[in-house]
């Protein structure tokens, strides 16, 4: 398409969008004072904006089209995104490496292979090189350890980072369900709520402490998940989405209305923070303590998810996501696989919920709305379905950015919506592509493996 045509098309698009956004953006009526407010500048912004964006849009659409033909995913957009976030790049290298390194389950046979597989983004090829990422990791790790004690790391800083860590946990949990097993779960927050309320209520009624409540909350969530899962998981993907959404809403409404049980909208206050052998800690210390607690929990989550990913069950999930019929025809029981994924996902939501309750010391239904689910989902979508690093980065971007750019926190949900659409269109696999396990076989081993 030649330049002129391009420009003409973009002009048309610009006009179209100006027309489209006119009543909502340019006019504002105050029905109380009976005055109309005209906001013409907006129209100009829209015009120019859509004119420029339409170029970018087309450019990437073409990119994608070509990429599709070659059957290889072009990492360009991804790289662009990653470059854009100064923080991401090193860590990207870091864990792609963890994913490339075989989890060692295949014993002697498996060894790290030079990532020569075609169609792997250039970046990831570098990441496979230990020499390149090891030093960066060293620096980062020390930094991470020291972080809470650095001068600028105020209680607030630590607190919001802890918050982001919480979302990493949620993201990784949801990632099991959505990213690996490919079940669109819109009710994740319900299990989060189950966790939070189990701790809150257990403490309220029986004075049970954090450490006891942690596993119990997780267990409740898991049970809840299984109960929900049994009937629902037979449904097709899109129905599953809507039903989980429905369940989440029901849960919230019940929490709101069943005072006898959940103390309704006024919630439960005064939930104790996690203790450390009954040690007395002031606010700052507690915050630091929770920070490390969260880091530990995140590492635990990463460890488990990583192991599951490269196991018999993890493979079954991915296969299920790829093609359910074929998967069942290969002897995988889909219901069983889905149920496990669902239960595990819920378990993590439960864990996170307990921590949430302990961290905020207060729970009420307002914290468990659909938007929360949407937020967690967009973390997974942005980061990359099925990719652990991706989710980590996604969480940091989506949770910390709005905190730091306060002005822009108004646009938070707008952004989340946008991200979901744009990512799906241009880079469904997310910023970081989940890399498959790589095996290398010495001929010898192959022979001995050969049954003839």
């Amino acid at each position: 398409m030649n330049a002129f045509a391009q420009i003409r098309q973009s002009l048309i698009i610009a006009l179209w969008f100006m027309f489209l956004t006119f009543p909502i953006l340019a006019v504002r009526v105050n029905t109380i004072e009976k005055v109309v407010e005209w906001r013409w500048p907006n129209m100009i912004y829209v015009g120019i904006g859509s004119f420029l964006i339409s170029f970018v849009w087309r450019y990437f659409l073409e990119r994608k089209a070509q990429g599709g033909k070659q059957g290889t995913h072009t990492a360009l957009l991804g790289e662009a995104t990653v470059q854009a976030m100064t923080v991401a790049t090193p860590s990207v290298q870091a864990t792609t490496a963890t994913e490339v390194t075989p989890a060692g389950q295949a014993g002697a046979q498996t060894a790290k292979a030079p990532a020569t597989a075609t169609g792997k983004p250039f970046m990831q090829r570098i990441m496979a090189e230990p020499r390149l990422y090891r030093p960066v990791l060293m620096v980062l790790s020390l930094f991470g350890l020291a972080f809470p004690f650095l001068p600028f790391a105020s209680t607030y800083q630590i607190n919001i980072v802890t918050n982001a860590l919480l979302y990493i946990m949620l993201g990784l949990g949801l990632n099991i369900v959505v990213g690996l097993a490919g079940l669109l779960h819109l009710g994740y927050v319900a299990f989060y709520a189950v966790g939070a309320y189990s701790y809150a209520l257990l403490y309220y009624h029986f004075g049970i402490g954090f450490w006891v409540a942690l596993p119990i909350g997780a267990l409740f969530a898991a049970i809840f998940g299984i109960i929900l899962g049994f009937p629902v998981l037979r449904l097709r993907g899109d129905y599953l989405a809507i039903v989980t959404l429905g369940f989440a809403e029901i849960t919230r409404l019940v929490l709101e209305n069943w005072n006898g049980f959940s103390f309704g909208p006024s919630g439960i206050a005064g939930i104790p923070r996690p203790g450390l052998f009954g040690m007395e800690m002031d606010l700052h210390q507690v915050t630091i303590y929770i920070y490390f607690l969260m880091i530990a929990l995140c590492l635990f989550t990463i460890f488990v998810v990583n192991r599951l990913q490269n196991s018999r069950i993890g493979r079954a999930w991915v296969a299920l996501r790829e093609d359910e019929v074929a998967c069942e025809a290969m002897g995988v029981d889909p219901t069983m696989a889905k149920l496990t994924a669902f239960a595990l996902g819920s378990t993590w939501a439960g864990l996170a919920g307990v921590v949430f309750a302990a961290k905020t010391t207060f729970v009420n239904p307002a914290s468990f709305t659909f938007l929360e689910s949407a937020m967690i989902l967009s973390i997974v979508v942005l980061g990359g379905m099925g990719s652990i690093v991706g989710v980590i980065i996604g969480a940091f971007i989506l949770i910390l950015l709005p905190e730091y750019l306060r002005a822009f926190s108004e646009y938070r949900m707008l952004l989340f919506g946008l991200i979901m659409v744009v990512m799906m269109i241009f880079r469904p696999q997310g910023i970081i592509v989940g890399i498959r396990q790589i095996y290398e076989f010495k001929k010898a081993s192959a022979k001995e493996g050969n049954r003839q």
């Binding site: 059957g71 493979r315 790829e322 093609d323 498959r436």
Partner: protein, 268 residues
């Protein structure tokens, strides 16, 4: 005579008013390569879907007799249970797991032959590691046999067409079947690839003594490879016998000349 591996008795399948299969009976004996042919829309794939439990047949029975075990009724069984029984299939329109590597595709096949659960996967204890090792070895061995050993770490979607077909067979083999159901394995292959495939199927049948039941349009391979041929037309079994008998059978000739349409098999 010996017990048939697969024994289909008067299988019937209705979609709403339409009768896709009408009292179809078929047998596969150990060591046999049986072909199921017929014009497009005759219901061949539907037949596969019915015996593998993807559709629930409206009537009739399907029995399998795993070598050394006694007869089992599998009609109405869930697909994955059927596969576990020892009957694996491929798909007419290739259905691999595109985003998984070649090796992983085959490893999935081992799923129903391995046990480790969530805890095992997390703790990764001795048993788990041993099992994984076994899965990897077996899968790799199969890939070698199929001549795909070079591409183990390639994403399935990046394989050339012919290899994808073979990978599907490899994946089916990994489930450790005694009977392999191939749905148009030679579709879209050039003569050379077809010959290679024919050779491959023979070897599978001999070396691993896995019987084969295949749907195929390419008469060359059908005639040369199959010990017996069944002909399906409009949901009815109109003929059965050796290649020679089939080629002379007037009904069959009529059925084939009778159809011009080039359009795809509706059930694909």
């Amino acid at each position: 005579m010996m017990e048939p591996l697969l024994d289909v008795k008067e299988l019937t399948m209705d979609f709403g008013g339409l009768r896709a299969l009408d009292k179809v009976s078929l047998q596969v004996l150990p060591g046999e390569i049986v072909a199921l042919i017929g014009p497009n829309g005759a219901g061949k794939t539907t037949f596969f879907n019915c015996i593998t439990g993807i559709y629930k047949p409206t009537g009739g029975d399907v029995f399998v007799t795993p070598p050394g075990k006694k007869q089992r009724r599998i009609s109405g069984m869930k697909t994955h249970r059927v596969t576990a029984q020892g009957m694996a299939r491929t798909f007419q329109n290739i259905r691999l797991f595109p985003e998984m590597t070649v090796l992983e595709n085959v490893m999935i096949g081992r799923h129903c032959r391995s046990r480790v659960g969530v805890l095992g996967a997390i703790l990764r204890d001795g048993t788990t590691r041993r099992e994984e090792k076994d899965i990897v070895d077996t899968s790799y061995a199969i890939l070698e046999k199929m001549g795909l050993a070079e591409e183990v770490n390639e994403l399935a979607k990046n394989l050339p067409y012919g290899d994808q077909r073979r990978l599907e067979i490899a994946r089916a083999m990994a489930t450790g079947p005694f009977l392999l159901l191939l749905d148009e394995p030679a579709a879209g292959m050039n003569p050379r690839e077809t010959d290679a495939l024919e050779e491959l199927i023979r070897r599978i049948c001999k070396e691993d003594n896995i019987a084969v039941l295949m749907i195929e349009h390419d008469m060359r391979i059908v005639m040369s490879i199959s010990s017996r041929i069944y002909v399906l037309d409009y949901g009815r079994m109109i003929a059965a016998g050796t290649s020679v008998e089939i080629m002379e059978n007037p009904v069959v000739i009529k059925a084939y000349l009778g159809e011009e349409e080039i359009e795809d098999d509706k059930c694909s």
